[in-house]
């Protein structure tokens, strides 16, 4: 489902003397449908960078990033948008939404984007919000004013609203209490059972052990420092 081939990445800081910082080299691995792969490695090893490249958020310098039948490293913006809408879900660590939009609509939006009718989309959104213990009184409010933990749960509900065939999860269980952590892990297991290919970053070792089928240490892709 997801195939990474020989991907490299460097940042060029034009406004800081044109410094070129290579951050990744020769990254290669695959994820099959129904499989969950955890990225590991020290802080700064490039876990998030790799995740962002798969999402199309960072440009890959070379290599191929095949998700479904799209090569993210070479795709046109609109192809990436289609991929993100239909195929590739992403749960980031931060919720980024238009202010003023009610929580229920925020969660339902990925479903509306793929053409689900409003009633069905709202029903699914409410089901997820209930499972993640967001009180019903908050559904009609914008999540911008919520606490960090609530925002994170809204973000997860939004990420799982549509059944994506492939998903990227960046610290999905961070800052959650035991009950909600359990709910999120169940959501991940359900997705796996549906055949979703998942790449995740889990600092929570227990969670990683429970849902991940394999671990990939991205330190292996860190370029050797020239010095």
């Amino acid at each position: 489902m997801i195939r990474i081939e020989n991907v490299s990445k460097s940042f060029t800081l034009h406004n800081q003397g044109g410094a070129v910082i290579p951050v990744m080299e020769g990254a290669s691995f695959t994820v099959a449908p129904g499989e969950c792969v955890a990225l590991t490695g020290d802080s700064g090893a490039g876990k998030s960078t790799l995740m962002r490249m798969i999402h199309g958020n960072y440009l890959a310098a070379s290599g191929r990033i095949i998700v479904g039948d799209t090569d993210v490293a070479r795709a046109e913006p609109r192809e990436i948008l289609t991929l993100r809408r239909d195929t590739l879900g992403y749960v980031s660590q931060f919720l980024r939404v238009v202010p003023r939009v009610p929580t229920r609509d925020v969660v339902a939006e990925p479903l509306l984007a793929v053409g689900t009718d409003r009633a069905t989309a709202h029903a699914r959104a409410e089901e997820l919000l209930t499972r993640l213990n967001i009180p019903q009184t908050l559904w009609s409010l914008s999540p911008t004013t919520f606490s960090g933990g609530e925002q994170q749960r809204v973000n997860i509900a939004r990420g799982f609203a549509h059944d994506f065939p492939a998903m990227l999860l960046d610290e999905p269980t961070a800052s959650l209490d035991a009950t909600n952590r359990e709910t999120v892990l169940r959501l991940i297991e359900e997705a796996k059972a549906r055949g979703t290919a998942i790449i995740g970053i889990f600092h929570d070792a227990d969670a990683r052990a429970r849902v991940a089928d394999r671990e990939i240490d991205v330190s292996a892709f860190t370029p050797a420092r020239a010095a």
Binding site: H14, N15, P77, R78, V98, V101
Partner: protein
Amino acid sequence: MTPLLSVRDLSKTYGGRIGCADVSFDLYPGEVLGIVGESGSGKSTLLNCLAGHLAPDTGEILFDTRTDGPRDTRKMSEPERRMLSRTDWAFVHQNPRDGLRMGVSAGGNVGERLMAVGARHYGQIRAQATDWLGRVEITEDRLDDRPSAFSGGMQQRLQIARNLVTGPRLVFMDEPTGGLDVSVQARLLDLLRGLVREMGLSAIIVTHDLAVVRLLAHRLMVMKSGHVVEQGLTDQVLDDPQHAYTQLLVSSILQV
């Protein structure tokens, strides 16, 4: 898929000074393209060339017309181009006073585009105007008020209703949230996003507000000194900018 708008090597100079130079891009149906850059970077010149308000010196602007497929709008006759700007195109000005008739009621402002394309049934025109005011969150009891009695945010929403009532396929927006305070901006952005999705609109939005494009635009074009220095997926350009100028632009945003 045929692009709705296909621009090739568009250039416009003011005397010896470059307005915009060698701009090329494709805009597909349903896509929102943001154009950012500092004042004087040529983004408004480009927008006005695209919308037919300015005559470019060279280049092609192919618009996928409903009846005849892609045609170069520069080679169209003036009546054809003006018909297009009343029906399939819309232009939302930064200052609503430039896009509204201040002496005509809100309903008349919205109805004008309908009457311009031949609507001659008062009741139906009024019903459509009411419907559209509702969609932009203006209550029915303001239908017969003049825009001069409206707040800035309401005027801007009225301008949007007036532009969208004929079901255009391409909307040009010049700093649509420019003169509005932050809370009104948010409301307007939410509204625009909803309309873009529900109507399947394509839009080109010129702004210098990177937060606005992040929320509204699928794709981003960064201009400097009349040239496009970088373009791509909005979040990719903002989060992983490749060009020196874009990096400067992104790093210059004040964090709240």
